[in-house]
Symmetry: C2
Subunit: 602 residues, 2 copies
C-alpha cells in the first residue's frame, strides 16, 4: 500500500506541481518527509510545501539589509542561515546577545527576564510592533528533528508565531542553509500563514524550552509535545507494530480476551472491582438506606413519645404502621444496594490482572494465538502485555527470545533517531550497545537452583534481602545476575512451585514447575512464561494449594477435561521492554497517561 501521495493543496492558488510527499488526508507534508530524510531535506530545496506543527522555540531577528527578503519574492535556493545564528533549543538568545549588542538590548526589552530566554519574542501586547522576521523551530511530532521556518513580520504579528506551544500551519518554499556548520540543512521561507493556534506564554505550562520531568508529568495531556515524550510515543508505536508483525508472520491469530472478568487467578486484593451504574447513586433522587434508617429512628422516638403520653391511640397506630412500612422499605433497600453493584454480572466483576486463563481457551481451539491487551493491578496501573501460546517450555522460551530480539532489532533500526535523542538525555549510549548485544548474541539460560547457588556464593556484595532455595529472587538479586555476572539477557527457569501461579506445569520432582522469567540488564523481568499444567489432578491440587476457589475455575478446568493439550505461553511487559530499549529509568514515563496521579487529572 502506498504510504503517501504527492501534495496538491486545495486551498492554495498555486497551480504548479508540488513535489514533496504529504499526508494523504491532511494535504500537509510531515516534517519526517522533509527534515527526517537522510539528506536532511537538501534534495527538496526550491520546493514549495505546506507544513505545520507546534512551536518549540524561536528567535526574532531585525531585518538586516543583506539578508532581508520579502515574502513572495524569488528567494535564492541557497541562503546564509538567518542572522548566522547557532540556533540550538536553549541557547539561541544567549548566542545572539553575545554577538550583536543591539539585538541584546531588544531581546532584553522583549524577553522581560531570564525565564523567557528561549521564547524571546513571545507574549505581551507591547511587542506587537516587532518588525523584522522570526526564526521559528516547529515540530509536528513525526520525527525528532525540528524544521526552522522564517516568518516575516509583514505576514503576521510575530508574537503570534514565536510563542512556544503555538500551532502554525504555513505554506512556503524550502531553501538550503549555508554557512559554517549550520544546525539545519534546510529551512522554510514562509509565504502564507494558513492557521495560527495562539498560546498565552504566561499560562502555557510547558513554555520553557526544556521543562523538567516533574513538570511534564503534571501535564499528561500536553506531555507529548515535548521531544522526550514524543520520542517514547514513537518507540512505543513501533514496538506495538513489531509485536503484531512478529506474531502475524509466525502464524499466530490475534484474539480479544475479556478485560472485565469474574474470575481471579491470584490475589484479589490487587484487583479493581467494578460497581454498577453510576446513575443509581449520583443523578437520581435517592432514597438511601441511611435516610430510611433515620426515618425509622425518628418514628420510633415518636411512638415512644406517643406511648408515654397515651393521648391519641389512632396517632399511635398510624405511627406504628408507618414504622412497619419504613422497616420493609429499609429491608428492600438493603437488598437492592447489595445486589446492584454487580447487577450486570450476577457476581463480583473485576478488571482482569492477567489474560493467561482466557487466552488458553483460545489456544485450546485455534492453536497459536496472542492477545495485546491491558492488564490491571490496583497498585501499578495498566501495563500492556502480549501473550502467546506454545507447546512446551522450550518452545515458549525460544519464541520469547525470537520475539524480544525481533522487537529490539526493529526498534533499533526504525527508531534510531529517537533512541539517540533519548540516550543523549539519559545514560549515554550504553543502552544502545546493550540492545545490540541482546539482539546479536545468544542469551544465558540457567535454572532457578543454579541462580540461587551462584548468589549464595557471592562474597563481593551483601544483599539486603535474605535468600535460600524456595524464596523469591529480589530485584537486587536479579540485577546482580544480569548486570554483573552475565551482562546480558538471562532466562531463569524451573522455579519452586510456590513462586509461580497454579497453572505452571509441575515437574517430576513435585517441587519445581516449568516456568521462566526473562531478566534483562538495568530493568529486571520483562517477560515471563510457563508450560501450562495439562493434567487434571495436578491442576486441581495446585488450585487448592493456592487457596483459590475451585468453583470459580470450573470453566477453566473444562479445557483440561475435554481434550487437554500440552501448551505453554508467555507474556511480555511492554512498559518494561520500553525501558530496556530506551534506557528510561521509570516505568511511569513510558506513557503519559499511565501514571497513578494522572488518572486523577484526565
Amino acid at each position: 500500500m502506498a504510504s503517501s501521495s504527492t501534495c496538491s493543496s486545495s486551498s492554495s492558488s498555486h497551480e504548479d506541481a508540488w513535489n514533496i510527499e504529504c499526508f494523504k488526508y491532511s494535504r500537509r507534508a510531515t516534517l519526517r518527509s522533509v527534515v527526517g530524510r537522510p539528506d536532511g531535506g537538501a534534495g527538496l530545496a526550491g520546493e514549495r510545501a505546506v507544513v505545520g506543527g507546534w512551536v518549540r522555540s524561536s528567535t526574532v531577528v531585525r531585518a538586516r539589509r543583506a539578508s532581508a527578503v520579502s515574502p513572495g519574492s524569488s528567494s535564492p535556493s541557497r541562503t546564509k542561515p538567518e542572522g548566522n545564528v547557532q540556533t540550538t533549543g536553549l541557547t539561541c538568545t544567549e548566542v545572539l546577545m553575545s554577538r550583536v549588542p543591539l539585538i541584546r538590548c531588544i531581546a532584553r526589552l522583549m524577553a522581560g527576564g531570564i525565564g523567557a530566554a528561549a521564547g524571546a519574542a513571545s507574549g505581551g501586547s507591547a511587542r506587537r510592533q516587532a518588525i523584522g522576521k522570526a526564526l521559528v523551530r516547529i515540530n509536528d511530532g513525526s520525527c525528532v528533528a525540528d524544521l526552522q521556518i522564517v516568518v516575516d513580520s509583514s505576514l503576521c504579528p510575530l508574537d503570534q508565531v514565536t510563542a512556544t506551544g503555538a500551532c502554525v500551519l504555513v505554506e512556503g518554499k524550502i531553501e538550503q542553509v549555508e554557512g559554517t556548520a549550520p544546525q539545519y540543512v534546510v529551512q522554510m521561507r514562509v509565504e502564507k500563514i494558513l492557521h495560527i493556534g495562539p498560546v498565552d506564554s504566561e499560562k502555557y505550562p510547558l513554555s520553557n524550552a526544556l521543562p523538567s520531568s516533574d513538570l511534564i508529568r503534571s501535564y499528561p495531556h500536553l506531555a507529548a509535545r515535548t521531544e522526550a515524550v514524543a520520542s517514547i510515543a514513537r518507540v512505543r508505536s513501533e514496538l506495538i507494530h513489531a509485536v503484531h508483525a512478529f506474531f502475524q508472520s509466525n502464524g499466530f491469530f490475534h484474539v480479544n480476551t475479556p478485560i472485565i472478568t469474574t474470575t481471579s487467578a491470584g490475589n484479589r486484593s490487587k484487583m479493581f472491582r467494578l460497581t454498577g451504574l453510576f446513575s443509581k447513586s449520583d443523578n437520581d433522587i435517592r432514597i438511601t438506606p441511611e435516610a430510611v434508617r433515620a426515618a425509622i429512628k425518628e418514628k420510633t422516638k415518636q411512638i415512644e413519645a406517643l406511648k408515654r403520653s397515651e393521648s391519641n391511640k389512632e396517632a399511635l397506630e398510624a405511627a406504628e404502621q408507618d414504622l412497619q412500612r419504613a422497616k420493609a422499605l429499609s429491608r428492600q433497600l438493603e437488598q437492592s444496594t447489595e445486589s446492584s453493584p454487580d447487577d450486570l454480572f450476577h457476581c463480583p466483576a473485576y478488571l482482569t490482572p492477567c489474560h493467561t486463563l482466557h487466552l488458553e481457551t483460545f489456544a485450546c481451539a485455534l492453536s497459536s494465538v496472542y492477545t495485546f491487551s491491558p492488564a490491571f493491578q490496583a497498585e501499578i496501573l495498566d501495563s500492556d502485555r502480549s501473550l502467546a501460546e506454545r507447546w512446551t517450555l522450550d518452545d515458549a522460551i525460544s519464541c520469547t527470545e525470537d520475539c524480544v530480539k525481533s522487537l529490539c532489532s526493529t526498534v533499533s533500526k526504525d527508531c534510531s533517531d529517537e533512541l539517540k535523542f533519548l540516550s543523549s538525555s539519559q545514560a549515554g549510549d550504553a543502552t544502545n550497545s546493550l540492545i545490540g548485544s541482546a539482539v546479536s548474541s545468544p542469551w544465558e539460560k540457567i535454572k532457578y537452583t543454579e541462580a540461587v547457588n551462584t548468589l549464595l556464593q557471592v562474597t563481593d556484595k551483601t544483599f539486603e534481602s535474605k535468600l535460600e532455595w524456595g524464596m523469591p529472587l529480589s530485584h537486587e538479586h536479579l540485577s546482580y545476575l544480569a548486570d554483573d555476572v552475565y551482562k546480558k539477557p538471562l532466562i531463569i527457569y524451573e522455579y519452586p512451585k510456590q513462586l509461580k501461579p497454579f497453572y505452571a506445569r509441575l515437574k517430576e520432582d513435585f517441587k519445581t514447575v516449568s516456568a521462566f522469567d526473562l531478566v534483562v540488564p538495568k530493568v529486571g523481568i520483562v517477560a515471563c512464561g510457563a508450560q501450562k499444567e495439562e493434567r487434571m489432578d495436578n491442576l486441581t491440587s495446585r488450585i487448592e494449594e493456592s487457596g483459590l476457589q475451585i468453583e470459580q475455575l470450573e470453566w477453566y478446568l473444562d479445557t483440561r477435561r475435554h481434550g487437554t493439550v500440552k501448551h505453554s505461553g508467555f507474556s511480555i511487559d511492554l512498559e518494561r521492554l520500553i525501558l530496556f530499549v530506551t534506557g528510561l529509568k521509570d516505568v511511569q514515563d513510558t506513557n503519559p497517561f499511565c501514571r497513578t496521579k494522572d488518572h486523577a487529572k484526565c
Copy 2:
C-alpha cells in the same frame, strides 16, 4: 520475516527430511499448511508430518481385507477413501448404516442411542475392544477445512481418538484419496500417536457435531472449537491486522489512551465505576458506618433510659462520652468510606466509554495518531474501536472510507474460506456481494437534512418512531436509507448539534455540527466521526449546554488554550464491522467472551 520453517521433529526417530512447512515453535504442521493449500494438499502426498487438533467427528470402520494397512508399512501414496464413505460432519454414521448391515448393528451397539450418532465410537469401557480403524476428522483452528486421519486400532484404543472434542497429536504419512468425488483430497495414515487429550463424551457439552448457537453461547471457553466461532475469530484477527496495516502504511502512530479515566464526556449513567481495593470490603474485619450508627442508636436509648431513671450520674456521663466518641468515629468512617473506593484516583474513576478526548491530546502533538482499545458502556459490553485523527471533516470522511474499504477488501481476500463457510450457514452469499460493491463503488454522502426530507416523503412504509428535523434517526430509518433507498454504504453528515457530543465543530448556522455517521446495509452505523471544535468560546458554551462539569474538562480545554489546531477524527466499531463482513446478525456472536452473560462465567 520468514513465516515458517521446514519441520524437523526432535522427538521423532525418522532421520529423513520433512518437506512440509510447520510451525516454528511447536514442530507441528498446521492444517492450513496441509489441507488449506490451494491444491487441498495433493502436492504433499507421500510426505510425513506431525499434525494435531481436536476431533470434529469420526467413524469407526471394521478392517476389510482390501484396505487393511498396518502402521509403519509402506502405504501406497494413492489409496481409495477409507470404506468409501461420504464422511460429512453429521451424517457419516447414518450413511454407513444404510450401506453395511453389519456395521449398523455394531454402531447401534456402540452408540447407545441417537444422541451419540456423530461420535459413534466414543466413550464407555465396553467399547475399548473395537478392532479396525477410525476415520477421524480433526481441526486445529488454523483453517476451515478438517484433515481426516486414519488410526488403526493397533495404535490405541479407538474410543480415545474418536470422541468429539478429544485432542490428538499424531505422526504419519499424507496420502491422496481417490474415488468418485471424495470429500477430501488427502488424508493422513497415522503411524504414531504422540499425545491424546481424552474427553468424556457424556460430559463434553459440545459433543454434538453441530451444536446449537444457544449451546455454544453457554460455553464461551469452548466455543472457539466450533467452526463458526473459529471462523469469526480468524476474520477478527485478520481485520485487526488490517486496521494496523492501514494506519501504519498511512503514517499514523499507534498510541495507548487510558482505559481508566476520571473524565466523562457524556452520560455517566452508562459508565462503569471502579471501586478501590477488594480486600478492604471483603477480607478484613470491618467496622462499618452502619455498625457505628447502630451503636449510637443503642447508646442514645441507654442515655434516655438513664436520664429517665436519674439513678446514676456517672453512668450517664460515661454514656454521653461514649456517644460523642461513637459520633466522631461515625463522621470519620463516613468520610473514609466516601473516599476509599477511589483512593487511588482521588476522585470517582470509570472505565472509559470513549477514547476521543484522550486521543485528541496525542493528535495535538504527534499529528496523526490512532488507538485500538476497548471502550466500555454499562449496557453493551466492550466494543473495540479504532480511532484516528485528521484535519477536517472531509479528510475524516475520506480516511474512514479508505480505511473501511481497505479492511473489507483485505478480509474478503484473505478470509474467503471463512466468509464462504459463514455465509453458507447464514444468509446465502448476499453478504459477499454487499462487501464487493462496498469496496468497488463510491459511497453515497448526504446531509442529515436531506436524509430527514427523504424519509418524510416516504409513502410506501410507515415508521414506528416519529421523525422531524432535530430528532435522531432510528435504526429503522437508517435501515430504510441504506437497505432500500441507496443499497450501499452511506455517509450521513451535518447533524443537529443536540444529536452529537460537545466536541463536534459548530457550523456557521449555529444549529448543525461537522459530524458524520457511516451506515452500512443490514447492520447500521459502523463508524462515526467529527471535526473537532477548536474554538474555545464555542467549546465552553457547548460543554455548558450539554450539562457537563467544565472543571472536569479543564485539561481537555488546555489543548485549545495552548496552540489549538483544526483536527477531526473517527472511530470504527469493530464488532459491527465484523457483522457487516461476515453477515452475522447478532453483535454478541463476534467474540465468545463479549456477552453480558458470559462475564458471569469467566
